[in-house]
Amino acid sequence: MTLFSVDNLTHNYGEIQALTDVTLAVPDGAIGLVGANGAGKSTLIKILLGLLTPTSGEVEVLGENVRTHVREARARVGYMPEGDCLPVDQSASDFVAYAAELAGVPAKAARRRASESLALVGLGEERFRYLKDFSTGMFQRVKLAQAIVHDPRVVFLDEPTAGLDPEGREQMLELVNRLSDYNISVIFSTHILSDIERTCDWVVLLDNGRVKRNSPLDRLGSHGVVQLELIDDPQSTAEILRSRGLTVTVNGFRMSIPSADGVTTMIRDAFAETGTGIRSMTETQVTLEEAFFAVGPDFPPPVPT
């Protein structure tokens, strides 16, 4: 199932182009939306929620066209904004119950849902306290609780770990991971790459309003080099491979060979001939950090899915 798709999406703020001809489709699951400040993450989220009308292009969330069926789309999503979004003169329970009612949950059920959601985020005991008395970490948890209280199909989290201390951040990431247990997909917007690696299985990398990567996190691309770690001396095997036209670099018990068609078969045959033991054989993958900082056309493209 496609979580959301955008087609030729462009959005301008006056002279400034925030998103330029973005086309992508993202599957169900935990999606990381990564980019530097000003890359267009928040603009994309606001367009997906129908808060902003794009300059041009089409947007669908959970199969609903956001331009023509914004209510239907919003009925199935939750949103945790980056900035302040809590009325400090209310108790956590009252506000979260109210947030559920806004999404159409009847009043009585909304109160029960509020208790359950606040318990999930670890605020079961504090739910009747006024929000004014909450710490930053507790604020973030209440923001998450209001985003999931109506049991959305997908929740948009905009910088959920912002302002949290290491322990709070750890707990927030754990909570985000737990959402999949309840069949809630996540769109996690952040510029902290390790948070994405901890929680997501798909990544959309935005740079200057354009999509740089849209792929599973484990298929960001390959460096095109096969790495081997050996048990025995690699020299004899290296000689055979060189004689068959491959470029082989040996470093102690490690061996690197540029990837090409049929290279794995040639390696297998060479090792069978020499009887040398192999500990591991991998093709080196592009990390999220490498993909984030990568520039230029020579950088490896993502692996097709």
Binding site: V70, A75, Y79, D84, D89, E101, V105, A109, I148
Partner: protein, 292 residues
């Protein structure tokens, strides 16, 4: 406790119950408006002003009934329904100065609009729900004391309870119509001022200042200036428009009015009220259409 008792923690579960329509979402906003305006489910100090004004409003009603009861024969000219608006409209003005900003400002300042707008609502739905909250609150504020007064006077009438009600059937439409004129004028300006300011208290103060200053300046110009067109300054005595409409509806003359002094008919005040409402709605919409 029974030996067989167990604690069952159901925890977070997917919701499979009914989901309401747009109307139920808007009703949630209206209810939240009531709670905020009246300080319900909030700290004690939030309740002081609204409930103080409500108490004062009711007190005036009971005083009038008490006077009619104990000294009705000695004071034959008890306040009429129209004059009663004069007694209470200042409290109404204060009540709307308090509730108008409370309904709009905190949501915007606290960033809660981002949460509202991620729900199946549009900004126009939100603003309509807030307007419904203000209008219904103000109608209750004006009409409940009037209803008590009506029933109280009926109970004390020498002609009998039902005879009095039968003879005064016209108040059943006149009082709500006049109350709506007051609410439309006061409420729309309160919303327009609140759409710009980041503090409820400041919005309340500025709103009251605006109403008082426009009244006084208009009165001064109409009363003392002798240039051509000076009488049109009366149109800016905004607070007096609902009073003129009240006199028109009740066919009474409850006091000096700048519009009357300037030679305008009461229908002009009714048109001015419509302009104030339309202008305020436009101002609020312009401020909110690009939020959050």
């Amino acid at each position: 406790m029974s030996e067989e008792a167990i604690i069952v923690d159901r925890g977070y579960r997917p919701y499979e119950g009914a989901r309401g329509t747009l109307r139920s979402s808007m009703w949630a906003i209206v209810k939240d408006g009531y709670r905020r305006a009246l300080g319900l489910r909030r700290r004690a100090w939030s309740k002081v002003m609204p409930w103080g004004l409500i108490a004062l409003m009711l007190m005036i009603t009971f005083v009038v009934i008490a006077v009619a009861w104990f000294a009705g024969d000695l004071i034959p000219d008890l306040p009429s329904y129209a004059e009663y608006f004069d007694l209470t409209s200042q409290l109404g003005l204060l009540f709307v100065a308090l509730t108008g900003p409370l309904l709009l400002v905190p949501d915007r300042v606290n960033g809660v609009l981002a949460v509202y707008m991620s729900r199946p609502l549009r900004m126009v739905d939100y603003l309509l729900a807030k307007t419904a909250a203000l209008v219904s609150l103000m109608l209750t504020f004006y009409l409940v004391p009037q209803a008590i007064l009506h029933l109280g006077l009926a109970g004390l009438s020498d002609d009998g309870f039902f005879t009095y009600l039968g003879e005064n059937l016209d108040v059943l439409w006149k009082v709500p119509v006049v109350a709506l004129a007051y609410i439309a004028t006061h409420g729309s300006i309160a919303f327009a001022v609140s759409a710009f300011l980041g503090k409820s208290g400041l919005a309340s103060g500025l709103y009251l200042g605006f109403v008082i200053i426009t009244n006084n300046v208009a009165g001064l110009i109409v009363g003392s200036a002798n240039f051509i067109g000076a009488k049109y300054a009366a149109l800016f005595a905004i607070e007096q428009h609902p009073r003129y409409v009240r006199d028109w509806v009740f066919d009474s003359n409850a006091g000096f009015l700048i519009m009357e002094d300037a030679g305008f008919d009461a229908w002009v005040s009714a048109v001015c009220i419509l302009f104030v409402v339309a202008g305020s709605a436009l101002i609020v919409w312009r401020q909110y259409r690009k939020l959050p």
